[in-house]
Symmetry: C2
C-alpha cells in the first residue's frame, strides 16, 4: 500500500532524527573524549552533517509533502497532527535563513568566539567589540527573516527558536513580577542569613569518591546507566538522544557540592529527554518542548528537589559513606544552610538561586537594546555595569566581571538567556503542583525515592513531548496559566523560613 | 571562476570523507564508550549515515562529473589522476550492488551474527548453518555483480573490495610458497624450541600500570596523543581518520604482553593512517591502500620490529619500571624466547607468527569452495577439521574450536581473510628493504627510537596513499615484485637462529 504524504514525512524525519543523534554524539565526543589536536577534523565533520541535515530538511520534496499532508490534516489524530505542525515549524525555520546568511553567521561567530577569548585574556572589551558589532548586524538580519517567516516580531522570532510559544510580552510580564519582588527579598534574606551564617565546609575530597557518590545519587534519581553515561568536562552539559543520554559534570577537589549538583542538574535534563514519548522518539513531536522547559526540569531537580531539607537528609549518610566526613559542619542543618546560602555576586555562573534571575534580566534588557539599535555595541560595558549596579547594587570592576563573562553572544546566541529565568519560574510552578499531587513528597525525597516524582513528570510534562504549545503544557500540567506567582511563593517560603 | 568537473568531484568527496569520519567515530564509540542498552539507537544512526553516504556517492551528478573529468583526464597531474581513478572505483563499487541486495545482506548478516553467537553457546554448527547458507547465496550474487562491474572473476571481485589490485592468482602463488615451506619450518622450530623452552612468566600485573607502560611505548613508536587515544575494548581495533586516530587494546592481568602488543599492533595501523599524504587526506587517493597493506603495517610493528631482540632490550627496563619485575625469567633472553614461542593451536586468534598463515590458508580454500558451490555449507565442519588436520596436524574436538571460531563469515565478510596472510608477507618484504636502507635499525630500536623507521615508511609506503596500485607500491618501496621470498627468509632467520 502506498504511504500517505504524512507517512512519507515520518520516514524523512526519522532519517533527520538519526542525523540529529549522530551530531549530538560528535559534539559530546568533542567535549569529553576527543584529543586536543583534532578540533579541525571534527569541525569538518560537524559542518558536513549539519549542511546535509539542512539540505534534507529543505528539499522541495519536503515542502510538497507538507502541503499535501496539511491539505489532508482533518484525517489526522492529535499526535500526528501535532507532529505535522512541528515538522512545518522545523522546515520553516530552516528555510527562512538563506544558506549564505547561515554561512556568514557561522564564520563570523567562529571568529568572534576567538576574539572573545582574546578579549578575556586582555580583559579588554575593545578587542571583541568589532566582532560583536558584525554579529549583531547578522543576527538582526536573521531575526527579521525568521520573524517574517513565522509572523513574529524580530526578537520574538529569536526567542521562538529556543522556546517556541513564548513571546516578549510573556517574558515582560514575568520579569516585571520578578523585578518587583526579588530585590527586596534578596535584601531581606541576606540580612536574615547573616544572623546565623553556615559554618564553612573545607577539605580536600577525592574526585574518584565524589564520582562514586554522584553515581549513587544519579541512580536514586532514576538515571539509567545502561542507557546513559556520566563523564567529566570543562562545563557540565547534556547531549544525546532518548536511547543514549550523556551527562557531564566537573568535580572540584575543594568542594564536594558543585560536581554533585552539576550532575543532578544535568540529570534533570536527561530525565526529561528519557521520559519523552517512546513511540514518537524519532519524530519532531517526540522532542522536548524547548529550552525554557528543558531548564525547568534541570532546575526542578537541582534547586527545588535537591537544594532542600529532605534531600540533605538523604544525602548526609552518603557524604559520610563516600567522603568519610562527620564533623559538626556536616550536620544536616548546616549543610542545608550551606546549599541555600545567598550572596550578591558579579558572575552569573556563580550566582545562587535567588540572585540568578537578576543576572538574566540584565542580559535580556541589553540584548533587546543591542538588536533594536537603541544601544550601540561600544556602549555595552557601561550599560552593563550600570544595569547590574542598579539591579543588584554591585558594580563590575572590569569587563571580565562584566559584559565579557558569557560566551552566548560571541557564538550568536541571542534570545537564549531568558530561557534560564523562565525555566526557574516554570520549575517553581511545577513544584507547587507536584507537592499538591504528592503530599508525601518530602518523605519520598528524604528516602532517596524519586519514582513518584518521575511518574508525575512523565504523566504531566515529559510524556507530552512537543504535542502542546509550551503555555498549554504548563496550564495542563499545573492547572494554572504560566505566571511567576508560584515561583515567588516558593522562594519566599524557602528563604524566609530558613533564617 | 567556475570549478572544473574534477574540482567539483573533489568537493563532493570531501563531504563523503566527513561522513566516513563521522561513521568511524560512531563505531568507535559503540565499541568503547556506548552504554550497553543503546545499540538500537546507534544502529539507526549508522544505517542512516551509511545510506546517505551511499546515496551521495551514487547520484547521477557524480556519474556525470566522473565522465566529464575522465574526458579531460589528459590535463591532470599524477595525484589528481590517481584520485580520479579511486573516485571511479568507489562509485563503481557502490553502484554495482543494488540497494535491495545491500539491504538483504545487512538484514541477513545481522541475523546470522545472532545465530552465530547462539551456535557458539550451544557449540552446535547446525544452529548457524541455515543462516550461513542464506548469506553464502547473497554474497555469491554480490560477487557476481561486483565482478561484472569491475571486470573480475567473482571471488577476485570480493578480494578487490578489501585489497584492490590483488588477484586470486597472486594469492595462489604466494600461498603455494608458504604451503611448500611452512609445515617443515614449523616442525623444525618446535623441535628446536623444545630443547630450551622459555621459563614461564607468571604473576598478576596491575592493569593501570600496564596501561602506563603501553602509553610510554606508544609514545616511543611516535603515536601522537594530541591527535589520538588509547582505550580498552573487547577486541583491539583502530578507528578514526588521520587527524583523530583511536586505537584500543585489551589488557590481561595475568599476561603483561597481550595488551601491550595488541596496542603496538593497532599503532602500526594508526601510524599508517597518520602518515597518509596530508594534502589529500579528505580525498580517495589520500586513503590507505587496502587491508593487506594495513595489515602489513600493524604486523611490521608487532612482529618484525617488536617481537625482536632489540625491542626486548628497550622494553626490559620499562617492564622493571612499571611492573617492578626483575627475577631471572624477566631477563632479555627469556623474554625474547617467550615472545617468539611457537606452538600449534586450534584457534587463529591465539596463533603465533609462524602458524598463523596456516589458519588463513585453510579459510581461504574453504571460502572459495563455499562460494563456487563445490563445498556445501552442511559439510563445512568436516572439511574444516580435515583441512586443519592435514595442514597443521591438529583436529578440532568441536565446532567451537573449528569453523565457529571466527565472526567474519557470519557478518558477510568473504574475501577478507587472505589480507591477514598477505599482510605478513608484505611486512616481511618491507622489513628486508627497511633493514637494507637503515643499517643501524637494531640499535635504533634497542634505544626506543622509531623516527628513522617512520621516515622510511612515510617516504615509501604511508605517504603514497592510494596513488599506486598495491603491487606497484610494493615494487617501488622494496625494489622487488611482491613475493613470499623475503618473508620466508625473515622467518627462517628469526626462528632457526633463536633455537
Amino acid at each position: 500500500m502506498a504511504l500517505t504524504p504524512y507517512q512519507q514525512l515520518e520516514q524523512e524525519f526519522r532519517r533527520l532524527h538519526a542525523f540529529h543523534g549522530a551530531l549530538s554524539l560528535l559534539r559530546w565526543d568533542a567535549a569529553v573524549m576527543m584529543p586536543r589536536g583534532s578540533a579541525d577534523v571534527r569541525g569538518e565533520q560537524l559542518a558536513a552533517l549539519e549542511t546535509e541535515h539542512h539540505a534534507l530538511l529543505t528539499t522541495p520534496r519536503i515542502a510538497r509533502l507538507l502541503e499535501r499532508a496539511e491539505a489532508g490534516a482533518a484525517q489526522l489524530d492529535d499526535w500526528p497532527l501535532a507532529n505535522l505542525r512541528e515538522m512545518r515549524r522545523q522546515r520553516d525555520h530552516a528555510i527562512a535563513t538563506p544558506p549564505s546568511l547561515i554561512a556568514r553567521l557561522a564564520r563570523t561567530s567562529a571568529r568572534a568566539e576567538v576574539y572573545w577569548v582574546e578579549a578575556r585574556k586582555a580583559n579588554d572589551f575593545k578587542v571583541f567589540a568589532p566582532h560583536l558589532e558584525e554579529l549583531v548586524h547578522l543576527v538582526r538580519d536573521k531575526a527579521a527573516l525568521l520573524g517574517q517567516a513565522r509572523g513574529l516580531a524580530p526578537y520574538d522570532a529569536l526567542v521562538d527558536v529556543y522556546t517556541p510559544g513564548i513571546s516578549t510580552a510573556d517574558i515582560d510580564a514575568i520579569f516585571k513580577s520578578l523585578s518587583h519582588k526579588l530585590p527586596g527579598l534578596i535584601h531581606q534574606v541576606i540580612e536574615l542569613q547573616a544572623v546565623r551564617p553556615p559554618s564553612p565546609i573545607v577539605g580536600k575530597f577525592s574526585i574518584s569518591r565524589q564520582r562514586q557518590l554522584a553515581v549513587e545519587v544519579l541512580k536514586s534519581l532514576g538515571f539509567p546507566f545502561d542507557r546513559g553515561r556520566l563523564d567529566e568536562s570543562e562545563h557540565p552539559f547534556t547531549e544525546g538522544v532518548p536511547g543514549d543520554m550523556r551527562v557531564t559534570t566537573r568535580f572540584d577537589a575543594a568542594d564536594p557540592f558543585t560536581g554533585l549538583l552539576g550532575a543532578v542538574h544535568e540529570t534533570g535534563h536527561a530525565m526529561y529527554d528519557l521520559g519523552l514519548p517512546q513511540q514518537w522518539r524519532d519524530q519532531p513531536v517526540g522532542r522536548d518542548r524547548g529550552l525554557a522547559l528543558e531548564e525547568s526540569q534541570s532546575l526542578l531537580f537541582e534547586m527545588n528537589l535537591c537544594r532542600s531539607r529532605p534531600f540533605v537528609k538523604y544525602l548526609r549518610p552518603l557524604l559520610e559513606k563516600y567522603l568519610q566526613v562527620s564533623t559538626p559542619e556536616w550536620r544536616e542543618e548546616n549543610l542545608y544552610r550551606h546549599l541555600i546560602h545567598v550572596r550578591r555576586s558579579l558572575i552569573r555562573m556563580d550566582a545562587d538561586e535567588l540572585t540568578y534571575p537578576v543576572h538574566i534580566m540584565v542580559r535580556y534588557e541589553l540584548e533587546k537594546r543591542l538588536l533594536d539599535g537603541s544601544l550601540a555595541v561600544v556602549d555595552l560595558p557601561e550599560a552593563w555595569n550600570e544595569a547590574l549596579d542598579q539591579r543588584l547594587g554591585l558594580r563590575p570592576g572590569s569587563d571580565l566581571e562584566g559584559c565579557l563573562q558569557d560566551i552566548h553572544w560571541s557564538v550568536g546566541h541571542f534570545g537564549y538567556f531568558p530561557s534560564y529565568a523562565l525555566g526557574a519560574v516554570i520549575a517553581g510552578q511545577m513544584y507547587e503542583a507536584l507537592r499538591a499531587a504528592r503530599p508525601s513528597l518530602d518523605e519520598e525525597i528524604a528516602a532517596g525515592s524519586f519514582a513518584g516524582v518521575l511518574e508525575w513528570l512523565r504523566d504531566h510534562v515529559h510524556g507530552v513531548g512537543a504535542r502542546l504549545p509550551v503555555k498549554d503544557l504548563i496550564q495542563e500540567a499545573t492547572g494554572k496559566p504560566l505566571s511567576a506567582a508560584a515561583y515567588l511563593r516558593y522562594l519566599e517560603n524557602k528563604y524566609l523560613e530558613a533564617g
